[in-house]
Symmetry: C2
Subunit: 244 residues, 2 copies
DNA sequence: GTTGCCGGTTTGTCCGACAATCATACGATC
DNA sequence: GATCGTATGATTGTCGGACAAACCGGCAAC
């Protein structure tokens, strides 16, 4: 008796336009760096108003698929930058009530194997970058902000050294979420700095020797230290994370 | 001699508007489900034109921060849905030339501990879902599309069972990227189906018994099987992944 | 070589307009 | 009383046109 109809989807024009352009980019028909036609021209080609094209461009822009290159008015095709994608992920996770424990658990899972992969795949350039990052961290004074940033930077160098974009990107939102709590922790726990330094120094040595096991082990300790730091700082692990 | 000035950034109004609204959402001043004022009203409040507001809304919309609830014209605040965030990640990774090996390596790292976490944290509802998913997979006929989809669905259930949004979200883009190659593999390698079924049956049992080690072990085998399947299917691991 | 100016292009923003859709209320009909 | 039709107002999607500001390339001037 009950006749069922499939949902009818009416898509506004601006989304169709965005989809059309986005598909061309994903299929690499439009290559990176290529410049998009002007808005009026796009409006002509799609047979819609310029306002409609602009709404579509805003969507593509926020997905990181198009970008205005500095010193140019025309939009050009771009690959989504790691940091901006990661920011989207971080925001999503924040709104989904991620706890400190959730974050820490993910770090526990991801980081040690990542360090291992970095020790295996690192080139000499990667090593140089890691060493530079470690030295910068070691030379940090009392500036908490800087200490946090440089600690995260070390992780990023390791991610880059894996030469695996999946791992590097997976790590980025975790770092973004980590920073605020790390800031509190470093401020409240005096010995945190030296423990971080020690762990990261051993990581550098492991990378230097391409010793995968040592890299994995020290990273595991490093992450475990974070948890201890949270406890010492009196941070409740079941608490929701807050925005940076 | 060379006087240095810091870069001056001029942000267009539509981005400022988007930032203003986005910040309110992230800080939870605007709560989920709450309805945004009408476009004309927003334009009045911000002192800009409605077109400008609309461009800002398109950005927020594509970030998943606002959404139109079915049967309502007003936008309402929403949390970014896992699938849509993951789609963004997948696209980013695709454009960054991720190889089959990169993806497989990430799965190797993430999935076994995820299965372990699922075995630890699963509730009886989670278990019921996993069992239902496994039965659906077992009841799949010759339909490749369905087999692929249900295989991925099992992973999703496990992710949900961890009760850790970070893990669940980290997994999703990997699944989205996995599906196309899995399709090819299942088509070309006859024994793939039964191997998948076996592994997933053992996973269900491990979850049932809350046997963390067994869950981890079987998942590791499961993922290792994928690699073997790729080799048998003649898929070059160093090849770039393609869009779904 | 640098500077300044000029014309054409493109974006950012605005204004005004209108059809289609939805919410709501109010009767009308059975 | 429940369902339906309709009137009314609010809101979105889309359109057309407008204009200042910024940028580009070229050319002249210093």
């Amino acid at each position: 008796m009950s006749v069922e109809f499939t949902q009818i989807q009416i898509e506004p024009a601006y989304r169709k336009v965005a989809a059309a352009i986005g598909e061309r980019i994903l299929s690499r028909t439009l290559r990176e760096g290529e410049r998009l036609p002007a808005e009026t021209e796009l409006a002509r080609q799609f047979g819609v108003n310029r306002s409609t094209v602009r709404e579509a461009l805003r969507e593509l822009e926020s997905r990181g698929l198009v970008q205005r290159r500095p010193g140019s008015k025309l939009m050009s095709v771009s690959r989504p930058q790691q940091a901006s994608v990661a920011a989207g992920i971080s925001h999503a996770l924040l709104l989904h009530d991620v706890t400190v424990r959730d974050l820490w658990e993910a770090l526990t899972i991801l980081e040690p194997p990542l360090a291992r992969a970095a020790a295996r795949a690192r080139t000499s350039e990667d090593l140089a970058r890691v060493i530079a990052a470690a030295e910068a961290l070691g030379a940090t004074g009392d500036d908490t902000e800087q200490a946090v940033h440089r600690t995260a930077q070390m992780f990023r160098c390791l991610g880059q050294a894996t030469h695996n974009p999946v791992l590097a990107l997976a790590q980025e939102p975790l770092l973004q979420l980590l920073e605020p709590s790390l800031r509190v922790m470093i401020d409240k726990v005096p010995q945190a700095r030296s423990r971080i330094l020690t762990a990261q120094r051993h990581l550098v040595e492991a990378l230097q020797a391409q010793d995968e096991s040592a890299a994995e082990t020290w990273m595991a300790r490093h992450i475990r230290d974070f948890k201890r730091g949270y406890e010492l700082a009196g941070i409740d692990l079941t608490l929701r994370l807050t925005a940076a």
